[in-house]
C-alpha cells in the first residue's frame, strides 16, 4: 500500500469545488433591506445586522414573498388531517436579517409571547407559513403568519413542549 501515490478522494474534491461554486453567505451582503411599500406584516428586532426602520427590520407581503419559498406537509394539533403549508424557512429569514442570538421571542396578535431557541431552526426545517392548503392565512384566522414545525417527520416534535412553539397570528420576532 505504501508505494501507492496518495490520492485526493473524489468526495473531498467535490466538497472543495462546492465551496468555490457556492454563493457567498447572505450576511456577507452589504445591501441593507429595502423599505417596505405595503402594510407591515412582520417586525424583527433585537440582535440583527440588517434593519430598515429604526433598529428593526420590517416586512411587507412583497418582501416576504421574495424569500426562498418552502413547502411543508404535516398534521397539527389544532386541525384534522394532513395540511399543506407554504411559506419560507425561519432559518432563511433569520439569515436575511443577520440575526445573532440564542433565542427568538415570538409575539402574536393577541399578545401571546413565547421564547424559541434558535437551535430549533437549525435542527429542523421550521416553516413560517403564509398559506394553508393554498389559502392565504388571514389575521382573523391563524394568519398573517404561522410558525409550523415538521411534526410528522420527527417523533421528538410530537411533544407538548414543542406544541406551544407553533405561534400563529405571528407579528413580531425579537432576537436575543
Amino acid at each position: 500500500m505504501r508505494e501507492q501515490a496518495p490520492m485526493l478522494p473524489l468526495s473531498a474534491l467535490a466538497i472543495v469545488m462546492l465551496v468555490f461554486l457556492a454563493p457567498p453567505p447572505a450576511h456577507a451582503q452589504e445591501d441593507t433591506l429595502p423599505a417596505p411599500e405595503g402594510e407591515i406584516i412582520l417586525t424583527i428586532a433585537g440582535q440583527i445586522a440588517q434593519t430598515n426602520l429604526d433598529a428593526s427590520a420590517v416586512f411587507d407581503e412583497a418582501m416576504l414573498a421574495n424569500l426562498p419559498s418552502a413547502v411543508l406537509e404535516t398534521t397539527t394539533v389544532v386541525t384534522d388531517g394532513l395540511r399543506q403549508f407554504d411559506g419560507f424557512l425561519m432559518r432563511d429569514l433569520l439569515t436575511l436579517v443577520g440575526a445573532e442570538g440564542e433565542t427568538v421571542t415570538a409575539t402574536a396578535l393577541n399578545d401571546y409571547v413565547i421564547d424559541i431557541p434558535v437551535e430549533d431552526f437549525e435542527r429542523f426545517d421550521v416553516l413560517v407559513a403564509t398559506h394553508m392548503d393554498g389559502q392565504r392565512l388571514l389575521s382573523r384566522d391563524m394568519g398573517p403568519l404561522w410558525i409550523v414545525y415538521p411534526r410528522d417527520d420527527h417523533a421528538e416534535l410530537q411533544d407538548i413542549r414543542y406544541d406551544y412553539r407553533w405561534v400563529w397570528q405571528l407579528v413580531r420576532l425579537d432576537v436575543e
Binding site: V77, D80, L109, N110, R140, M142, I160, W168
Partner: protein, 455 residues
Amino acid sequence: MIRRNEALAYAIAGIAIFAFAVLLVFALFRLAGTEAEMRENERDNMLWALSQAHAAVLLLDAEIARQAGIPQSMADVERRYNVVLSRLALLNRGPQARYMGDLGLSDNLAAADRAIRSMEDDILGLSHGDVETAAAVHDVLEPLIGDLGLAGNRSMVRQWDATGARLDRQRESIVQVIVSIVAIIILGTVLSVIVLRTMAQRQRLMRSFVREQEIAEAYRNFVALASHQFRTPLAVIDSSMQRLLRSGRGMKPEEIEERARHVRGEVRGLNELIGATLDVVKLDAGQVSADPARCDIVMLVDRVRARQLEATPGRTITVRLGREVPPAIETDPLLAEQVLGNLVSNAVKYSPPTEPVFIRVTAENRQICFAVEDRGVGIPQDEQEKLFGRFFRASTAQDVPGTGVGLSIASQLARLLGGEMEFASRAGIGSTFTLRLPHEWAAIRPEQSIERLPA
C-alpha cells in the same frame, strides 16, 4: 417413588416457567399501555384555547366601549376583532369543535360567530360617541363571554376528572407491574434453585456412575488376574505330579524331594493368594479388628525376615536398627507382621535376585518407622497416586505375578493400627516403603479403626 418425584419436579418447573412467561407478558402489556397513555397529551390545550378566547372577547368588548367614549385609532379595535374571530375559528375547527360539542357549546359558538360577523361593519366603522352601536355589540358579546366562562369551568372539571382517572389507572398498572416483578423474581429464584439442584443431582449421579464403573472394572481385572494367578501354580503342580507318575519307581529320591519342595512352594503361594483374597473380603466386611499387645521390635523384624528367607533362600535381607528405637511398642503383632511381611515380600519380588533388601527401623516423633528399601523396578511417577488402590498393578510389575491387593491391604491395616504408609520410588532405581506405627496404642482414635472400600 423417584420417578413420581421427578415428574412432580418437572410439573412444578413447567408451571413456574409458564407463570414466568405469563407474568412477563402481562407486565410488559401493562407498561406499554401506561407508556402509550402518557404519550397522549389529552388535548391539554383546550382549557388554554377557551381562556384565550374568553380574554379576546372581553378585550374586544372593552376596546369597543373605550372607542365609544374616547376618540382613538381604529387599528386596535380591528386587531381585537380579528383576534376574537381567530379564536372562534379555532374553537369551531377540528379537535376543538368536537370538544366544544362534548361540552354542548357548538351551537352557541357558531351562532355567536355569525352574530359577530354580521356586525362587522358596525364594529369596524364604530365612530366616537356611538354608544348605541357599542351597546348592541355588547349585547352580542355578553352571552358569548358567559358561555366561554362556563366552558372553561366545565373543561376544568372534565380535565381534572380525566387526569385523576388516568392517574388512578396508571397507579393501578404500576402496582400490578410491581407485583408481577416480585412474582417474577420469586419464580426466577425457584427456577434457579430447581435447575441448580437438578444439575447437582446429575453431577452426583455421574460421579457415582463413574465410580461404579471403576469398581466394576477393577473387579473384572481382579478376576482375570486371580484366575491367572491360581492357574499358574496349579499347572506347575499338575505337571510335577504327571512327571512323578510317569517316572514311577525310576525317579531318584533326591529328584522326588526336589519336586515335592517345588510343589509345596506353589501350594504356599496359592495359600497366600487365597489368604490375601480372604483378607480383602474380611476388610471390606469390617471383620478385621486390631488386638493390641506388647510387641518386641527385634522379634517382629526377625520373624518377617526369616519367613521371607524361607520362601526365597538365596536373597540378602539386611536389618538396621536405630539406636534410639525402643525394645517394644504396643500394637497388634500379627497385623504388624502381615504389613511388614507384605512390604518385604514386595521388595524381594520387584527387585533382581542379586540386589539386597534393607529393613531400617528408626524412631521419631513418638513413632516407629519401618523402612523397607529395594533396588528394583520402581514405580513410574504418574502411577504413584494409585499405588495403594485396590487391584492396582504398576506397569513395571507386569512380568511379576501378583493380584494388586497386597499394598491395598497393607495400607488399610496400617491405618487400622493407627499408623500410616509412605513411600518414595523412582522407576528403574528402586522404592522405599515406610510403615509408621505409634509407640502407644492409646493414641489411636476409634474412627481410625476400619474403613470400607476406598473410593
